[in-house]
């Protein structure tokens, strides 16, 4: 039974999405909620069994390598599955409030969201380069139309830009896959490390293509330009998923590739370069976030910045940095979902998200503002929160490896994050004459407020659950225990 759990976690949402598409609006909201529940349960059971019994491997359809498709769940995959399905389940609950009524658009939303969910799960359990490619494409092709659910007027340009970069990035990645096959004669992640290391220039070329392709899809500076418009204009639930999970899945891929198949050929210069790109992302994204005039764009640029922290793993490359980078991914995923859902509630109530006019929101929208503040604590990396633990680990790694300049990056990044988070909160608490909310919309349903708050609380709770999550993650692959 256990070894079929990865299959279930992938195919329940994929098939559920397809069926939702076929059944149309009348299946909303019962069918999507059933599928969401089943997916969450299966995925959490999968994570549970990895916790108890260790890594799981399953050959799809019973075919052995090289023909079969290997599904693998190790510690890293299990942690990402945990993040994906907890956040995914809560976003589904939120969407029950936002997209719970029948209607063609809502039906499309659910079909695409379930497809996206399944594709993300597929990405995390894939064990070979080409499957990863297919899963990556499924993720993009279901994520981009989701942006359009907010209504075409604002989002067509954003979706188109997103599509360009996603397609370009995946082609670069595909070239890398092909070159790898040429050098290594296999695509299985566990079999290609050795041949690639001995592959000479072709091996390096393959590695470069794989990394650059993923960087483009992960919206790392300077490939970030599509992200703010797409994440900032999509409906709240979609923004949350895109920022918390979709770009995170690309970062997962980067960590996985770097530490396993590419472990033998990575050079220090490339690692340092990735670290510098990460630092640039932190600086640029934070400053931009501070300068935005719209709430959702603040949150979107914050994603550009926060992804940079995960890149700081590469130059340090010790176990502490590994734990810090992954934990940062988890903490940021939860916190960013809370921020976007809270911002969605604001948008629903006010009808726009122009920051200057969002004064005194803490009275009507106390729960959402509180959710935003709690998640903000994690984004700033202040204790007690998941973001703080991640920052602590990365700081320790910086000192452990003697690369103190990354510690400075972390500290300055924390200040910049505080600047843009407190800027938002300042308006929320402001009680002074000035432009105010003109038309008060509906107060968000309880479900939507409480899911946002729950995610906010979770991002604080992550400050205390370090031991079990890092235990599940395990050490840095390839390093001596």
């Amino acid at each position: 039974m256990t070894e079929f759990l990865p299959v279930l976690a992938v195919f329940i949402p994929l098939l559920g999405g397809v069926l939702q598409f076929l059944m149309g609006p009348r299946a909303v909201p019962v069918w999507p909620m059933v599928v969401s529940g089943a997916t969450t349960v299966c995925a959490l059971a999968l994570v549970g069994s990895v916790t108890n019994q260790g890594d799981i491997q399953h050959m799809l359809g019973g075919w052995e390598a090289p023909l079969g498709i290997p599904l693998r769940v190790d510690g890293l995959a299990a942690v990402m599955l945990l993040l994906n399905n907890v956040v995914g389940g809560l976003v589904s609950l939120y969407a029950l409030g936002a997209h719970g009524r029948s209607g063609a658009v809502n039906s499309h939303f659910w079909a695409l969201w379930l497809l996206l969910w399944g594709s993300l799960n597929a990405l995390f359990v894939s064990g070979d380069l080409f499957n990863l490619y297919v899963a990556l494409e499924l993720v993009s092709l279901s994520a981009i139309p989701l942006v359009l659910v907010a209504g075409p007027r604002k989002t067509v340009a954003a979706a188109l830009n997103y599509l360009h970069f996603a397609l370009f990035g995946s082609l670069v990645y595909l070239a890398g896959v092909g070159l790898t096959y040429a050098v290594a004669g296999s695509l299985d992640l566990t079999l290609i490390a050795g041949p690639l290391a001995e592959g000479g220039p072709a091996g390096h070329m393959a590695a470069a293509c794989l990394i650059v392709g993923v960087l483009i899809k992960a919206a790392i500076v300077p490939f970030h330009i599509w992200l703010p418009a797409a994440h900032g204009n999509a409906p709240a639930a979609v923004s949350a998923v895109l920022s918390a999970l979709v770009v995170k899945s690309c970062m997962y891929l980067l960590l996985r590739l770097w530490t396993e198949p590419l472990a033998g050929i990575t050079v220090d210069a490339a690692a340092q370069l990735l670290g510098i790109i990460g630092a640039a992302a932190i600086g640029y994204g934070s400053v931009q976030a501070f300068r935005q005039e719209r709430l959702k764009l603040v949150v979107a640029y914050s994603t550009v910045a926060q992804l940079g922290y995960m890149l700081l793993f590469f130059p340090m490359a010790v176990a502490t940095a590994w734990e810090g980078a992954v934990y940062h991914g988890v903490a940021h995923g939860v916190a960013k979902a809370a921020l976007f859902l809270a911002a969605g509630n604001v948008l629903l109530y006010v009808g726009h998200d122009r920051l200057r006019e969002l004064r005194g929101l803490d009275r009507p929208l106390a729960l959402s503002v509180f959710a935003f503040a709690l998640a903000g604590v994690s984004i700033m990396g202040l204790p007690p929160s998941g973001g703080f633990i991640a920052k602590w680990l990365l700081l320790s790694a910086a000192l452990e490896t003697g690369q103190w300049w990354w510690a400075l990056v972390l500290i300055v990044g924390g200040f910049l994050a505080a600047a843009y988070i407190f800027r938002v909160l300042r308006y929320a608490f402001l009680n002074a004459p000035g432009p105010t909310i003109e038309i008060e919309g509906p107060v968000p349903p309880r479900l939507m407020s409480w899911t946002a708050l729950l995610l906010g609380v979770l991002s604080i709770v992550l400050g205390f659950t370090t031991a079990p999550i890092l235990g599940l993650l395990g050490g840095l692959p390839g390093a001596a225990p």
Partner: protein, 100 residues
Amino acid sequence: MSIMPEPFALAAAALIAVGFYGFITQQHPLRRLLAINIFGNGVFMTLILVAYWLPGDADPVPHAMVLTGIVIAVSATAFGLALIRRRILDANRKQDHGDD
């Protein structure tokens, strides 16, 4: 091997270069989409070449990769074209409203 790989390699490199240049320099979404497709064709040719580099008979795996890649590229391009059409229609409608 019955055919010379060099012309293929040169053609692939040229397509990749042209496509990449177009992706960077073009602003219009349609031109950009075309540039990406040219780039993609270069990548696909590279993958076909990979099948020849490998020892033994032509390997089916790169072919499978190319086919999958083409399917994905075609569907993504179709989706992109639909978006571009929508955008042009919206722009026209706005213009008409402006004239009223």
